[in-house]
Amino acid sequence: MEGLIHQIISGIATGGIYASVALALVMIYQATHHINFAQGEMATFSTYITLTFINMGMPYWVAFLLAVVVSFIIGLAIERILIRPMTNAPILSAVGVFVGLLLIINSISGWFFDYTIKQFPSPFPDKSLWGGFISGHQLGSTGVTLAVLIAVYLFFRHTSLGLAMRAAALNPVSSRLVGVRVGWMLALGWGLAAAIGSVAGCMVAPVVFLDPNMMSGILLYAFAGALLGGIDSPLGAVLGGFAVGIIENLGGAYIVGTELKLTLALVIIVSVLTVKPSGLMGRTVLSRV
């Protein structure tokens, strides 16, 4: 029983990371109707930026926040320079750009920061809490990811800019007619997604260690979470991310073993796509013929 609780708690901790990345994926999907395959590599690159700042002697949280800002700007720039010209391109060209972006960022990470696996510091105390059920880092990182998710929720629900960003993604034509600068809203969405990825990268790096491929598995879990919850539902994606985290941990511990954990993500992806393609909370798009 204790083992089960322990697995669920660490499932929630990793689930928070998947939920953040899933949210970033959904944000870009809603605006562009494409999956940003490079989301994981962007987060890895942001984590390297944080590490560089820390190695320059900055305190952890300063480095962390500065990297979030830098990531936001990089995300914004990627949209303006690479994605915007693809607005009316056929779907395969867009997919090509996303895959290319993945490879480019991955190689840049390796070229700048080399391919060796690096340790990444955790800002949280290294001790077990609550009778060994949860580590300091698990509790802290869950808190940080929850804070980010709540902040993003409040931003989209209760600010006029957040409303404009949602409107721009849902109905660009009508948005322009009320004066929303749709192009900039999409760019802001990319910036925000990159910033969220940066947080996720920094929170997961102390656990899985930092190397240029750090996020590739995580992106798969996040994608499974986003699909499970519904690729067009931000709330669904977040809940899906947490669910996948728990399923992954329980499945790894009791059913398939740690080696096959990643397969669970693929099983979830395939099952959702065959049984309920719109996900648990997604919209089913009906069209009259």
């Binding site: 949602r166 849902l170 034509v173 009508s174 948005s175 007619l177 009320v178 749709v182």
Partner: protein, 236 residues
Amino acid sequence: MPALLEAKGLHAAYGETKVLHGIDFVVEEGGVTALLGANGAGKTTTLRAICGMVRTQGELTLGGESILGMATEDVVRRGVAHVPDGRGTFMELTVEENMRLGAYVRKDREVEADFERLFGYFPRLKERFRQQAGTLSGGEQQMLAITRALLLRPRLLLLDEPSFGLAPLIVKEIFNIMRRIRDEERVSILLVEQNASIALAFAEDAYLLETGRIVVSGKAADISKDESIRRSYLGY
């Protein structure tokens, strides 16, 4: 009084397909101007041309300033509110969020007061304030679209077929409210309609479009009295 909006030799095209072939028209300050014509005459395209949603050539000025080729967002920010064909409802958002978006570019703090004032015209929107806009009926969505446009506090209101797809009683109700809006709000209106009789009764000036050219222009009252125009172009 000077013209608020003036078009001279206005051309518009979708890609290679030319839709407007050099039309001239004016919208007077404080007046209602109707743009009539059959399907495909170029009425909707004219409104889109004003808002920079299609490729245009010619002259187009708003209050003396050229707005030809300007981005839609910038035309809107100069006080042009457009109720598009199909009403442009943000279906997934609530009525409240749709209304907030209408006031998106405003910086003043009177938006809430405007909500209340506009509920005076459309009390049903107040009842549906927290509902998802996609659940509204067609008439209610038209009311929401007009409210969203008025929340910009526009100088010029472009209305694209407010009667489209609505039951005659609802159309009557909406035009009755539009009369109050015309009299009480300081806004000039350019109305596009297929329903010529209702539009001519509402407007002061009217233009008749046929395949991208203006064939008749004049006072709405004169046009509605002219039997030959009515027979040959308006079909009633």
